[in-house]
């Protein structure tokens, strides 16, 4: 660390700089095996039970965007971080940091939305906190939600269970959330009437398939940093390579269109209602079909496979036979997307 180094936006991108910051400044200092796993939730023991515990702050701008808002995002985001660990989300907390001067009606809309989201996801909001800071010391409203879930017995998921021959599934189209927020933030001069954030709770979808199928190795929701970052983490941490096929990755036409115009790569765009699964080859197609029967999985696709060669590499193969290496997001495409 350079002594006069400053924090930049890309430190919050979910990509390489976030990882570097966490490794250099946090992991070493809080050295414990649970934190070191860097999973979406911590797996810990309380008495005779195994629980998952997770936290996320939400700073999305603007507070309301097509298909969702900061309130739903804060509930579903934390629900999903528990669900991808295989846990049943039970309880969430809600801590508000409010900028002085926020219209009370805006706060009410957000809280209503959180209450709806708790009902939809089947979780109870059981504890909270409210802080107010001076005008100019925050941007309208930041929300932290933490969550507690219970792990089912006899089901173990983890990046260390991934082996060569496994296949990679994504539960639907990528980039919808990031582009919906971008559309709400800036007047793009583009018609985006049909594009909405994919913000949704994944716990029921995941519960359905984990109870029906043995052979699911690992799950993660591709939020900040997008699909690419999840694939890079798999390759690095599991010591494998990941081969994905470009034409199999579901992307809405509106999303790919805007990405072409603005120079974004959909692989790095945040999603808020999608899960990446690495599964045993033997169940991949059947599991994908099962996902496609569910509303939240109707565009699910098997997008690639795990190989033991060239560990650490993520390769994207195109339909015409080309290939390129995918690396972790280095800068920040779109700050404050969640």
């Amino acid at each position: 660390m350079n002594n006069d180094e400053k924090i930049i936006l890309a430190h919050g991108s979910g990509g390489k700089l976030t990882r570097d910051l966490i490794s250099a400044s946090l992991l070493k200092k809080f050295s414990n095996p649970v934190l070191a796993e860097l999973d979406d939730s911590a797996r810990v023991e309380v008495g005779s039970n195994r629980i998952c515990f997770t936290t996320d702050s939400y700073v999305v701008k603007p507070l309301f965007f097509p298909g969702s808002d900061i309130g739903k995002l804060a509930v579903y985001g934390t629900v999903n971080d528990l669900a991808v660990m295989g846990a049943d989300p039970l309880y969430i907390s809600c801590a508000l940091i409010i900028e002085e001067g926020l219209e009370r009606s805006v706060l009410e809309r957000v809280v209503d939305s959180m209450a709806d989201a708790c009902q939809v996801a089947g979780v109870s909001l059981v504890t909270g906190d409210t802080k107010v800071v001076e005008s100019g010391s925050a941007d309208q409203l930041f929300i932290n939600t933490s969550g507690v879930g219970v792990l089912p017995e006899g089901k173990e998921f983890g990046i260390d269970k991934i082996t060569a021959g496994d296949r990679v599934i994504i539960s639907g189209t990528i980039g919808d959330h990031a582009i919906a927020v971008l559309a709400a933030r800036q007047d793009l001069g583009l018609k985006l009437s049909e594009l909405e954030s994919d913000c949704a709770p994944l716990n029921r979808l995941i519960k359905t398939v984990i109870h029906r199928f043995d052979g699911i190795k690992f799950m993660r929701d591709p939020t900040r940093g997008g699909l690419a970052t999840v694939l890079c983490e798999i390759a690095e941490t599991a010591g494998v390579s990941v081969q994905v096929r470009d034409e199999m990755i579901p992307v809405r036409r509106e999303v790919s269109g805007i990405c072409e115009i603005l120079g974004f790569d959909p692989l790095y765009l945040a999603n808020e209602g999608k899960v990446v699964m690495v599964v045993d080859d033997a169940i991949a197609d059947e599991l994908c079909d099962a996902l496609r029967e569910e509303d939240l999985g109707e565009d699910a696709a098997v997008i690639g496979e795990i190989s033991g060669e060239n560990p650490g590499e993520v390769v994207l193969r195109t339909a015409v036979g080309g290939s390129r290496l995918i690396t972790m997001l280095a800068g920040d495409q779109l700050p404050r997307i969640c």
Copy 2:
């Protein structure tokens, strides 16, 4: 609610307006019996275990102040919210909202302090999140910590257990934290060299006495809103009155001096290492002596008693025979104190 009402700083004071906001905007919408108790932590069941779950965001300004800093405050504050429920704090989360441009060395100092605090309190930081917002969209650094603790079997505490005849104990001097932060924030032109925040983890102190004594009815740490707010909550919620004796309440000379000059009332000042206990009359003196044997309780005092008359009232009696009614903090004496 007025339609164009705006949030003001006093909504975050921990006093009356905070209560009003929570009642009107949060409790109704998330109606569930656990949240409705408005305890420092939620008591919930996970499998066969009873756990406590709590959250707090820390927005204290400045980040460093005599005797402590935002990092220690964030760890001990959440540890204390679990401890006053009688729970053994086990795990905490850490979610950072960083303003772009923060010196990395400042972040390192805070994180070092959090790591030390986790060691001192005996908790593991197991999960985290890092967000970065643009310069001007936050004020340096906000930290949310949530915590999970396990409730011991056979020990039940609650405001509903309080009855007439019980006595009220405070574990030490009041107002030290608020005045230390104020001293760091503004050049008061006063010599405050010996005054430090009381920021400290209460879990060991509390564990010692709850295992030794039966008859502790209720505990709370008097943070935002101070001792007065805790006493008003007791009177209102338990339907009793509280009589406290002015001369028994421990206040450092530096604190009472500054309060006189600036017009603050120490009863409303935030503390970060004190606990208010309501206990059976039969154990009050012995318990107070036991607290005084511990470093964190050396100034503990029995400061008053519970009566069944005039429910809802808190009365402060002075040494010369006067008395005044204590009400919940209506405005905000000092914003961003925690």
